[in-house]
C-alpha cells in the first residue's frame, strides 16, 4: 500500500516512467468503478445479487443454520402448522419444512450453477466455431441446434430425464442439452459480428491462429450477452429442476428438493396448505432474483434500451 502511494506521487512528477504501474492498477479500479456504476444505476439488480449471495451463503451454511436435520422425523408432530418450534410447519413424515427448504436451496443452486457453467462452455465452443468458420461447419452445427431447440425445453428435459431415471446428475445432463443450443446461437451471432471487425483483421494480419482469435478476441467481447443469458438460464434451470422433481423424474427422494417437497404436498393440500406455500415461495423468490439480475444486467450493458 505504501509503495502504491509513493508511486502515485511519483506519477505526478514523472508520468512517463510510471506507465507499467498505472497499467497494472487500471483494471482493478476500472472493475470497482463498474461495480459502483452497477449499484448506482441498477439498484434492483444489486439487491437481487445481494439476495443471491445471501441465499448461497445460507445454503452452504445450512448444516449450521438449520434448526433440524432435513431428514429427521418427529413422530409426535406430524403435519403441524407453522409454530414456534417448526417455523414453517412439518410434513407428513414429521420433518421440519424450514430446514428442508434451507437444505433444498443447495440442490437448486447446485443444479443451476453446474447447468449454466457447462452450457456456457459447450455453447460458447460450438457458437464460436460455428460463427468463425461459417460454411458447412456452421450449417451442420446450426441445423442440429435448431433441431434440438424445436423441441419445447421442458419436453426435451423430461424426455432425457425420464429415459435416464431419477437422479440429479441426469437432470443436469438433460438441462445442459436444453440450454447449450441457446448459448450457441447467441455466441454465434456475436462471433459473426466480431469476425468482421478491424481488430480481428489486425490480429489475422499479425498471423494469429484461428483459436487465438476465437478465444482472445471473440470470447472476451461477448461477456455481456453471455452474462445476461446465464442469469436468466440459471432461473430457468431452477424451475426445470423443480418441475422434473415434481413429476418424480428429477432429484430422487428423500432429498429435500423444492419440487419434490411440492409433489409430496399435493396429497395433503387442503389439510396442510403450508406444505404447498413455503417451498413454492422459496422457488419463486430465487427465480425472481435471477430474473431481476438478468434484467438489470441487460439494462446495464445496453443503456440504449428503454427500461
Amino acid at each position: 500500500m505504501k509503495r502504491k502511494d509513493v508511486n502515485g506521487v511519483a506519477e505526478l512528477s514523472q508520468p512517463g516512467l510510471q506507465l507499467p504501474a498505472a497499467q497494472r492498477a487500471a483494471p482493478r479500479s476500472l472493475f470497482w468503478d463498474e461495480c459502483k456504476r452497477f449499484v448506482r444505476t441498477q439498484p434492483t439488480g444489486a439487491l437481487s445479487l445481494l439476495f443471491i449471495l445471501l441465499m448461497t451463503v445460507t445454503a452452504l451454511l445450512s448444516p449450521v443454520l438449520a434448526p433440524y436435520e432435513p431428514d429427521a422425523q418427529y413422530r409426535e408432530s406430524i403435519m403441524v402448522g407453522p409454530n414456534a418450534d417448526f417455523w414453517m410447519g412439518t410434513d407428513d413424515l414429521g420433518r421440519d419444512v424450514f430446514s428442508r427448504i434451507l437444505y433444498g436451496a443447495r440442490i437448486s443452486l447446485y443444479v443451476g450453477l453446474v447447468t449454466v457453467v457447462l452450457s456456457v462452455i459447450f455453447g460458447t465452443l460450438l457458437g464460436v466455431v460455428s460463427g468463425y468458420f461459417g460454411g458447412i461447419v456452421d450449417m451442420v452445427i446450426q441445423r442440429v441446434m435448431d433441431g434440438i431447440m424445436a423441441i419445447p425445453a421442458l419436453i426435451l428435459a423430461l424426455f432425457i430425464a425420464a429415459l435416464l431415471g431419477p437422479d440429479t446428475k441426469h437432470v443436469i445432463l438433460a438441462l445442459v442439452v436444453v440450454e447449450t443450443p441457446r448459448f450457441a446461437r447467441i455466441v454465434r451471432g456475436e462471433m459473426l459480428k466480431i469476425r468482421e471487425t478491424t481488430y480481428v483483421e489486425a490480429a489475422k494480419a499479425m498471423g494469429a491462429r484461428a483459436w487465438r482469435i476465437m478465444l482472445r478476441h471473440g470470447v472476451p467481447n461477448m461477456v455481456a450477452p453471455l452474462t445476461v443469458l446465464a442469469s436468466l438460464a440459471f432461473g430457468g434451470a431452477i424451475i426445470a429442476e423443480a418441475s422434473l422433481s415434481f413429476l418424480g423424474i428429477g432429484t430422487p427422494p428423500p432429498n429435500p428438493s423444492w419440487g419434490l417437497m411440492l409433489s409430496g404436498a399435493t396429497r395433503y393440500m387442503e389439510n396442510a396448505p403450508w406444505l404447498v406455500v413455503f417451498p413454492g415461495l422459496a422457488l419463486s423468490l430465487s427465480v425472481l432474483a435471477f430474473n431481476l439480475l438478468g434484467d438489470a444486467l441487460r439494462d446495464y450493458f445496453d443503456p440504449r434500451l428503454p427500461s
Binding site: G147, A150, I151, L154, L163, S243, L247, L262, G280, V287
Partner: protein
C-alpha cells in the same frame, strides 16, 4: 411471398428430420429398453423369449434400419402401434392433441387479453406509478413457476370456497360446461407466464415506436393521443408481440406437461410423460414429432403474419 413460404416450409421439414433422428437415436442409446421392462413384469424369462419379443417389435435390426422403417411409415401417415397397448399411435394422438391445443389456445387468448392492454398502459404511463406497478407484476409473474400456481389455485379454491374442479374430463363437444370448468384453471396458471412476457414486450416495443420520427409527425399533424397510440404506434409494435408469442409457444407447450399432470387432463403432455419411462418408442417418437411440428408451424405462421401486419415486409419478399 409464395417462394418465401415454400422455402420456410422446406427448412421446417429439415429441422423436423434432424429432431426425429436426434430423439430416435437418443432413445435407443440410453441404457434399458422396452423388452426388459415388459418381461420384467413376467418374472423369470429366458434369452430366447427376449430375442423373440425383440424381433417381434422390430428392435433386433440396426438402429439406422429401424429409423428408415419408421420414416417410411411416417411419410405414409402411419406412425406405428404402441409397444404396450398395441393401439395405433395415430389414434392416441388424435385423442390427446385437441385437448392440449385447447389448453394452449385458451391460455394464449387469456394472455393477450391481459398482456396487451396492461403493456399499453405501462408504456403510456411510462415512469409513473402505474408503470412501476405493472412492471413489478410482470417480472413476478415471469418468476412464479406455473405448476406452483396451479397447485395454489387448487389448494385455495378448495380451502376457501370448497370448490374442486370436475374429476372426469369431457371434451368441449360432449359437455362444454364441464370442459371449461376443468380447463380454465390450468389455462389461467399457464397464461400467467405468457401474459407477463406479453406485457413486457408490448411495453418496450410501444415505447420504442413512440420515440420514432413518424409518431412525431403524426402528433405534429394534430392527431389525438388515442389515434397516435392505437392506430399508429400499437400496430407497429404488435409485430414484436406476435414474434414473442411464437417464441413462447415452446415454453407454453412445456408448461402443459406439468399442468395436465396436476389437473389430470388427458392431453399430449400426460401421454408423453406416461410413455417415455415405459420406453414406448413409437408413441414418444410421435409426441416429439408433433411438439416440434407445432413449434415450427407456429413460427412459420408468425413469419407469414409479419407480412400481414407490416405491408413493407410483404412487398419486400414478393419482389425478392
Amino acid at each position: 411471398m409464395f417462394e418465401y413460404i415454400v422455402r420456410r416450409i422446406v427448412y421446417g421439414l429439415l429441422i423436423l428430420l434432424v429432431m426425429t433422428v436426434f430423439t430416435f437415436v437418443v432413445m435407443r442409446l440410453v441404457p434399458g429398453d422396452v423388452v426388459t421392462l415388459q418381461l420384467a413384469q413376467a418374472g423369470v424369462v429366458s434369452e430366447e423369449q427376449m430375442a423373440a419379443l425383440k424381433s417381434e417389435m422390430g428392435l433386433d435390426k440396426p438402429v439406422w434400419q429401424q429409423l428408415l422403417i419408421w420414416l417410411k411409415g411416417a411419410l405414409q401417415g402411419d406412425l406405428g402401434n404402441s409397444l404396450w397397448s398395441q393401439q395405433p399411435v395415430m389414434d392416441m394422438i388424435a385423442k390427446r392433441l385437441p385437448v392440449t391445443l385447447e389448453l394452449v389456445g385458451l391460455s394464449v387468448i387469456l394472455s393477450l387479453l391481459v398482456g396487451i392492454p396492461l403493456g399499453v398502459v405501462a408504456a403510456v404511463k411510462h415512469g409513473k406509478w402505474a408503470d412501476q406497478l405493472i412492471r413489478v407484476t410482470a417480472i413476478t409473474g415471469l418468476s412464479i413457476p406455473n405448476f406452483w400456481l396451479g397447485l395454489l389455485i387448487i389448494t385455495f379454491l378448495s380451502l376457501w370456497f370448497g370448490w374442486i374442479p370436475p374429476i372426469a374430463y369431457r371434451t368441449f363437444l360432449e359437455d362444454p360446461v364441464v370442459n371449461l370448468q376443468k380447463m380454465i384453471l390450468p389455462a389461467l396458471a399457464l397464461a400467467v407466464t405468457l401474459s407477463a412476457s406479453t406485457i413486457r414486450m408490448t411495453r418496450s416495443a410501444l415505447l420504442e415506436v413512440l420515440h420514432s420520427d413518424f409518431i412525431r409527425t403524426v402528433r405534429a399533424k394534430g392527431a389525438s393521443e388515442r389515434i397516435v397510440i392505437y392506430k399508429h404506434a400499437l400496430r407497429n409494435s404488435l409485430i414484436s408481440v406476435v414474434t414473442l408469442v411464437g417464441l413462447q409457444i415452446g415454453i407454453l407447450l412445456g408448461g402443459t406437461v406439468v399442468l395436465e399432470y396436476i389437473f389430470s387432463i388427458p392431453g399430449m403432455g400426460s401421454l408423453i410423460f406416461e410413455t417415455v419411462s415405459k420406453r414406448d418408442y413409437p408413441v414418444v417418437q410421435a409426441c416429439v414429432l408433433i411438439y416440434g411440428g407445432m413449434f415450427i408451424l407456429v413460427n412459420l405462421l408468425v413469419d407469414i403474419t409479419y407480412g400481414w401486419i407490416d405491408p413493407r415486409i410483404r412487398h419486400q419478399s414478393s419482389k425478392a
